[in-house]
Amino acid sequence: MNPVVGVMALVVVSLATAAIGFYGLRISRTTGDFYVASRTVRPWWNASAIGGEYLSAASFLGVAGLILLSGTDALWFPVGYTAGYLMLLLFVAAPLRRSGAYTIPDFTEARLDSRAVRRVTSVVVVVVGWLYIVPQLHGAALTIRITTGLPAWVGSVAVVVVVCLTVVAGGMRSITFVQAFQFWLKLTAIAVPVLFIVFTLAGDGESAVAPAVVNPTGLAPAGPYQNISLLVALLFGTLGLPHVLVRFYTNPDGHSARRTTLIVLGLLSVFYLFPTAYGLVGRMFAPELARSGQPDAVVLLLPGQLIGGTAGDLLSALVVAGAFAAFLSTTSGLVVSLAGVISQDVLGGGVRGFRLAAVVSAVVPLGIALMTDSMALAGSVGLVFAFTASTVCPVLLLGIWWRGLTDAGAIAGMVTGGVLCGGAMVWGNILGAAGTPFWLAQPAAWTVPAAFAVTVLVSRATKHRIPRTTARVMTRLHTPERPLATER
């Protein structure tokens, strides 16, 4: 691929992101603006922004790569990412918006009336955020290496610099515009090339393919345990992602939080058709990409390989731009929510504290990313979902729906889930991809039930600790706002 194309695409996306970020600077002035855009963002804007934030390197590059590698088994990834949002809508969206809290630690503290729970939740949220940023930076490193030939670290550093500049400058308000813009950029960047490829190939009459070509790697299909465990991780992990949750606070009320989620589901459903199509086209026409050990690059390489010439270069530029939009938007969403948590808990709030915390939350994962090698992107993001599902999710679900939850139960559950799932991830890393048994490679199926069980049992054993505020908080979470507060 022409290296100039990759560099150009990177520069244009970064400039556009920064420009929208600075435009946002002029309208965000108070601390409230910085944290949650004053909760006045309209559902369509907000839904585009949520979509923009959610569709990460794993969705943009990783899903197609895994489909290329393992076929229909990998189709569970996009399905799980979308169905996770359905679970979010069913169990979390409206109550969380009505809680009136800014961050997940705010929520757990308000619900359980306990500073200790707040501190443990903060630690968990920061770990989740950092774990999630690392694969984004790996994706950026891969993209830069493949498309420009520059050293891989340039990609990670570029993403962190652009994210720090936009977040420090504008906070959440401008981030909403940036994210919304990046959703539509990502959708265009993944849809146009693959449609172009499909129509070109169909025009050449190549669409009839022998069945054998649809499985280029000959990998054995995953067993039902892996698929179920993956679905558990994705369905319950989405509930607890810090950058997803903070978005719900930007809705004016609980009902609009639900409407926003419905729109997000529509946007995600449309988006995920295209990585799936990419993976299938890759399996049929470029199976050698799977064997060369770079399946995550299939989205980047396919247009150049199958179209070629100027059209191929233009399509490649579009794809690279979309990929960088994915790294930038997810990373900045995570940095905003982490900065919110860190600045409130460690630096005492305020706009200056938020800016300092933003830099800290971006630089630490950069260090981790530079020291580690990238795994399959969709796979490593899947593990982060498993970790979230085993730590934040039980506390959130039980906190919203069960009056019997106590601070001791919440802490015990988060620690159990974190230790089990974190242990499985570390142990799996030590053993390496080939030596890891299947139940360790996909831990969610046992760590999530364990975390739920411990939370419930410890809460039962410490009934006297049920906070006296429970009835009031539960009322607030579930009763509709007065019609006055509904602005439309």
């Binding site: 002029r26 309208i27 002035r29 108070t30 409230g32 603006d33 004053s38 909760r39 006045t40 229909t72 189709l75 569970w76 996009p78 399905v79 979308t82 169905a83 359905l86 679970m87 809508l89 069913l90 169990f91 409206a94 009136g100 669409s207 009839a208 393919v209 069945p211 649809v214 698929n227 679905l231 004016p252 009320d253 009902h255 639900r258 409407r259 989620t261 419905l262 589901l265 529509g266 459903s269 995920y272 058709l273 799936t276 199509a277 299938l280 729906w401 009835a471 009031r472 539960m474 009322t475 607030r476 579930h478 009763t479 509709p480 706002e481 007065r482 019609p483 006055l484 507060a485 602005e487």
Partner: protein
Amino acid sequence: MTRVRVTAPRSVPRPAGESREAAEESDVGQVFVRSLIRSQLRLALVVAIVFLLILSAFPLLAAVPGLADTRVAGVPLDWILLGAGIYPVIGLSAWLFIRAAARNESRYRDLAGDK
């Protein structure tokens, strides 16, 4: 387009309405709140379970002999089912849930006397 400078949250903090306060304080109010929470939880669980049942039917469908060899416009049918067919199910579940949840809430409003 005029730009409005927003200097403070407009809708929050919400002044707790009288009916909200009443709901928090009185025993009768708590009965209504508990029944609202129960019906919302039941609704969410029903939608989730039905959706998961449908979802688990998809791999079984793909195991129907001959299906993997059936092709629509060159694409194997099991790919179309799992790669595109599930999304309308997700959207429909979400839409039905939102309508039913809003209905539960307006019923609560009527009971609690919130106008």
